[in-house]
Amino acid sequence: MLLKKAKAGALLDAIAAKERLFVPADDRGTSRFVAYGAGVEPRFDLLNTKLPPKDLLFPATETLYRWSRDGADLAIDSAFAETDPFTVFGLRPCDMASVDRLDAVFLTKGYVDEFYQAKREAATFVVATCAHPGRACFCDSIAASPHEAPTADVLLEDAGEEWVVTPQTEKGASAVEAWKPYLEEGDAEPIKAACDLKVDMAAVPEKLKGMFDDPIWSDIGDQCLTCGTCTFVCPTCYCFNIDQDVREDEGKRFRCWDSCMFTDYTAMAGGHNPRASKESRVRQRFMHKLTYFNDRYDMNLCVGCGRCMRDCPAAVDISLIIDRIAASEPAQEKEAMAHA
């Protein structure tokens, strides 16, 4: 089945008439996934939005429960709520791969995060492949591919004037069924693009295990401002804080995005902080993305979207860091050389 790009608007209107629909669009000077409606111009030409789509499943702040106090008495009401179905149309393959990472974190390893789960189950992801990957894109050598998205509900393969539409899940199949009036029969040749920027990840997760004391961390720590931008724009960074809003005798406890780049992230009472130095925090970020997460969930915590590289004010570039790790000698060899 084909969807003519020129006719996408009619399909979006039809979807939006049924349920909430999110599309990539400009928004107050940035770009992100916004609710489709009057005045929203979808930007399917954007490679990836400036802000990541993670807030659709894991909002930047999210109330967990409300409490109220009356003298000694305490009442606690969960803020958990079911989510109505919604569609995300025009996600990029790297961002779909980031959803796989969030799924692993929030839905596996003993505890299911119900706040996340409710949204995840309500979501239908329609992924559009990338005909022209950008300069900072390196998904195909780390986690994904510009022309595939195996976990998307519906895949839209870019074929120039149209998309080749393929449902990949049950949810996707029923979505495409409903789209029929807007689709056309026919064949088109999908564009199978590749990224120019490549990294060589093969040895990186193992090498990093011997690099805890490598000078690379003080070097990057020196460059980094620990502003946290990289972690907020990253579609896979999921660390959160739990804090509260208090209004006299009532309040709410919420979670909000946090950053391992901040000093107080691990600070404990009495001034003890296991990651007080920038060097140790930078090491944590890259170790987590490129080796710890791999051990735990069998995938990298970087999908090669390039956002952190584009937006870092200090030009910290994860692809160059991966190059440096890949080029470094294993610790044992270094030791052997030191003793020679």
């Binding site: 967990l64 429960y65 409490w67 106090r69 000694a72 008495d73 305490l74 009442a75 606690i76 969960s78 958990f80 974190v105 929030f106 390893k109 003993g110 505890y111 299911v112 995060d113 119900e114 706040f115 805890f212 999921y238 660390c239 959160f240 804080n241 739990i242 509260q244 208090v246 005798d249 309040g251 406890r253 979670r255 946090d258 391992c260 992230y265 691990t266 600070a267 404990m268 009472a269 009495g270 003890h272 296991p274 990651r275 140790s280 944590q284 170790m287 987590h288 080796t291 710890y292 997460f293 051990d295 735990r296």
Partner: protein, 292 residues
């Protein structure tokens, strides 16, 4: 008979409802342990124990409008869970202002637990300092409740001064009267007129002294070590020097925690989350982890 290796379980998470939302509990008892440590017994509003848990597991205590803090469950009774709380900062300061009858939030239990199964048949050497007491107490009480499953029990415990000793009733009246149970207490500093006539020593040298004087053996023993960073470092060295195999030393780790369920990302050491796969590890396992 070859001894069973100590095996700490790290795959113990279980889903008990919404992981972040606490249940409301009532404070039913408060004991002033020292000038800055109090113990609290919590019960559900319908008079039940808030949760069943294993020795070493954690509970997240919340006191709106103040914060949430993670504590080791120091003991459980038929109808309560008990926590021992040191006043060190903002939230713990407010916890110390609670009165019996006040309602607070509690969620958990979180984390793994002490290897009480694989330690069966061993002599148990517990070592704790200051506010390292709660987890040790939970495991020690388990051993005493199943006394026939374990060999000789020794507990080496220290605090800064006599006044800082936590759970004095257990230390001086309850545990020494249990069969083949030997409690050894030292203080770091003797204070004029505090009535302390026992050992004055830091924990590690005291541990070595007790080990020699009592003729203890590492042969079929398991050491359990809980305390702050410097106590941990020095006693760990002593235990290794005394001949304990790293596999036979069990300890607990601490880190700042928010979620308690391995999601929020902040309590990791390498690829391990202390709230979920920990807090209990053997020294052998710690040696393989990055020094994070």
């Amino acid at each position: 008979m070859p001894k069973t290796p100590i095996e700490v379980s790290h795959g113990c998470a279980r889903n008990n409802g919404e992981p972040y939302v606490p249940q409301v509990c009532r404070v039913i008892d408060i004991q002033e342990q020292t000038h800055d440590v109090k113990s609290f017994r919590l019960q559900t509003l319908d008079g039940k124990r808030p949760f069943a848990c294993e020795p070493g597991q954690l509970g997240m205590f919340s006191d709106p409008p103040y914060g949430e803090c993670m504590f080791a469950v120091a003991g459980v009774g038929e109808d309560y869970c008990e926590f021992i709380v040191k006043n060190v900062g903002f939230t713990t300061n407010h916890l110390h202002e609670l009165s019996v009858g006040d309602e607070v939030g509690l969620r958990g239990p979180y984390g793994n637990w002490f290897p009480y199964e694989s330690a069966k048949g061993r002599d148990m050497l517990f070592i704790g300092g200051g506010i390292g007491m709660p987890p040790v107490r939970a495991f020690l009480r388990h051993c005493l409740a199943h006394r026939e499953d374990y060999g000789r029990i020794d507990f080496v415990y220290s605090a800064s001064t006599y006044d800082d000793l936590v759970c004095k009733d257990d230390l001086f009246n309850v545990w020494p009267n249990e069969p083949d149970t030997h409690v050894h207490v030292s203080v770091y500093h003797a204070k004029e007129g505090d009535g302390w006539d026992g050992a004055v020593s830091y924990t590690a040298p005291y541990l070595e002294q007790v080990f020699a004087e009592e003729g203890l053996s590492t042969e079929n023993a398991c050491a359990v070590l809980c305390g702050g960073p410097s106590l941990f470092r020095t006693c760990r060295e002593s235990l290794l020097k005394l001949g304990f195999a790293p596999e036979d030393i069990v300890t607990t780790l601490e880190a700042r925690m928010k979620c308690g369920v391995g999601k929020c990302g902040r309590c990791n050491v390498g690829g391990v989350f202390i709230c979920l796969e920990g807090p209990v590890f053997t020294e052998a396992e710690l040696a393989r982890m990055p020094r994070d």
